[in-house]
């Protein structure tokens, strides 16, 4: 009887089709690949953190009990924070300028931004090396115009890492900020001016609070991305500015101590996921793409 009804209704709703694949179904192959080639190996490495060399939490105790490793953690947060701060400082005026400049000019600036994003990371990092080194373009120029009399140490230290990473992170902060600032009604700023606010007051009291969601979303994203950075700190930094990703690479490749490598990786993963959860909770995913 039931079968009968079904055929009946099928007739009415012809042509008969299998259930339409949902968006989720369509991502299944990709998810499967990720699970197999990313999640599984990561899980295996993390498992080693509690099984090697002996079962237990010894690796974590060593990681948390050593001033060396704590210094690497602290340094990772410090560098990420600094990069985030400088990115905001430079990114905000750029995003603002983009939002108010004629669209033709804006598209040129966007093209420059995106081109730099699509350029190979290593190539960009090496370019900075050449620019920043003692005999590099920047130092030669500074000496040439007489600003300094001996070359400034701009690379193989914190300065180098901050410059290199900020440069790479800038698009990630400019794009979401641009999205937010563009949505701000220019009439609001006019209203502020009419009410007697000077330029500084309209910036601090009106524009900044309105742009805050974009700033917070961009800053958090840059901070989280910076936490796991490897290539740029490794090439532009000195050993005194070691970051967590370098420490993990050192454990895995050089010391071949996978237990410790796994433990350090788990710490990085937990911190990153926690911050990502904060981001999702407060800003959702829709603000991340600069929409």
């Amino acid at each position: 009887m039931v079968a009968q009804t079904e055929t009946e209704s099928a007739k009415h709703y012809a042509p008969v089709r299998a259930r339409r694949p949902t968006d989720f179904d369509l991502t299944l192959p990709a998810l499967g690949l990720l699970a197999l080639f990313f999640v599984l190996p990561v899980a295996m490495l993390l498992t080693r953190s509690v099984t090697e060399p002996v079962p237990g939490l010894g690796n974590y105790a060593e990681l948390m009990g050593s001033s060396t490793y704590l210094r690497v953690f602290a340094n990772t947060f410090m560098v990420s924070g600094l990069v985030t701060f400088v990115s905001l400082l430079i990114g905000f005026p750029v995003a603002w300028a983009l939002a108010i400049m004629p669209s033709r000019l804006a598209s040129v600036v966007f093209a420059i931004l995106l081109l730099s994003m699509w350029t190979n990371l290593l190539a960009r990092t090496y370019a900075w090396m050449v620019l920043l080194q003692r005999t590099g373009v920047i130092n030669k120029m500074l000496i040439g115009v007489g600003l300094v009399d001996k070359p400034l140490p701009l690379v193989n230290n914190l300065t180098g890492v901050t410059i290199g990473m900020t440069y790479i992170m800038l698009p990630f902060i400019i794009l979401p900020l641009y999205g937010v600032i563009r949505k701000i009604d220019p009439a609001i700023l006019q209203a502020a001016a009419l009410c007697g606010a000077n330029r500084w007051q309209s910036l601090v009291l009106v524009l900044l609070p309105l742009a805050m969601p974009g700033m917070a979303a961009g800053a958090l994203m840059v901070f989280v991305m910076s936490l796991g950075y490897f290539v740029t700190p490794a090439l532009l930094g000195g050993t005194a500015n070691m970051m967590l990703a370098e420490l993990i690479a050192q454990f895995v490749q050089s010391l071949v101590n996978w237990g410790m490598g796994g433990a350090a990786a788990l710490v990085l993963l937990v911190v990153t996921l926690a911050l990502y959860a904060v981001q999702l909770r407060f800003f959702g995913t829709d603000r991340l793409g600069g929409s």
């Binding site: 690497v72 050993t239 005194a240 490749q253 010391l255 071949v256």
Partner: protein, 336 residues
Amino acid sequence: MKKLFALAAAAATIATSMPAAAADIVFTSWGGTTQDAQKITWAEKFTEKTGINVLQDGPTDYGKLKAMVEAGAVTWDVVDVEGDYAAQAGKNGLLEKLDFSVIDKSKLDPRFVTDYSVGSFYYSFVIGCNKDAVDGCPKTWADLFDTEKFPGKRAFYKWSAPGVIEAALLADGVPADQLYPLDLDRAFKKLDTIKQDIIWWSGGAQSQQLLASAEAPYGSLWNGRMTALAESGINVETSWEQNITAADSLVVPKGAKNKEAAMQFIALATSAEAQADLAKATGYAPINLDSPKLMDAELAKTLPDAQTANQVNADMNYWAEHRDAIGERWYAWQTE
């Protein structure tokens, strides 16, 4: 029909190429000019002689090697590794014993032979200097550690490996024959005195770039890299005073698929002729004792071989035993 034919042809090609593919061996080294030279002077000769193709892979990665052996999926047949690693990995069961009925070890420098490894080539850490960038060049390790007489940055090898600790102890006045066991406290204390002036290089190309650009006008470099810098027309000086030797080794990972071919490859690579050819191409020294005879006398003079009078040999066995402990302390000190 045409399509079907093409498919069949493709299938046939794959089928016929299968046996050849199975006999290929994979050689892994550190990339750059050194591996290029190994490819030309060893691999291509080997293929000519045996018909076995040698595929190149790299760079050498100890983490990868361990993962392959543990997973039982070893895709590397012969690997160029650092000497101290070879000695340690052999003990830890990561390597196949070498077949010395195939490899003739009677002519190989015994300093670089173990059950699991033979030398690949050997090199010296020497004191390099960019003469155009400074008034005077350091001649001894003590000079290189003297920031008053020689101000500015100096380049040292970043990784925990034989070389820098020895240099620090020699600079501090430890006699060469009393280096081992290494007095780490003393070494790090000496290193502390120049820490702010060290720029670490993590690969040979970077060491050359640092010296040539005068980012670090002097430093401790591999001798072959200094030879190459001089050849490229840069005004450099090399001091061989107490040059510290270390060697690369050739090993076969445990469970390598083409063990026999791997042994044959190592036999050829360590032959007098192949070693002489590699030395010519790289400026590193041959580990086959007959090789220098085959080489141009002028060239032989530029090799670590000719500098034995003042040479200090890093003790690979000591390093193999203490590699982990030294490494942990080394990296901790670097981040301080």
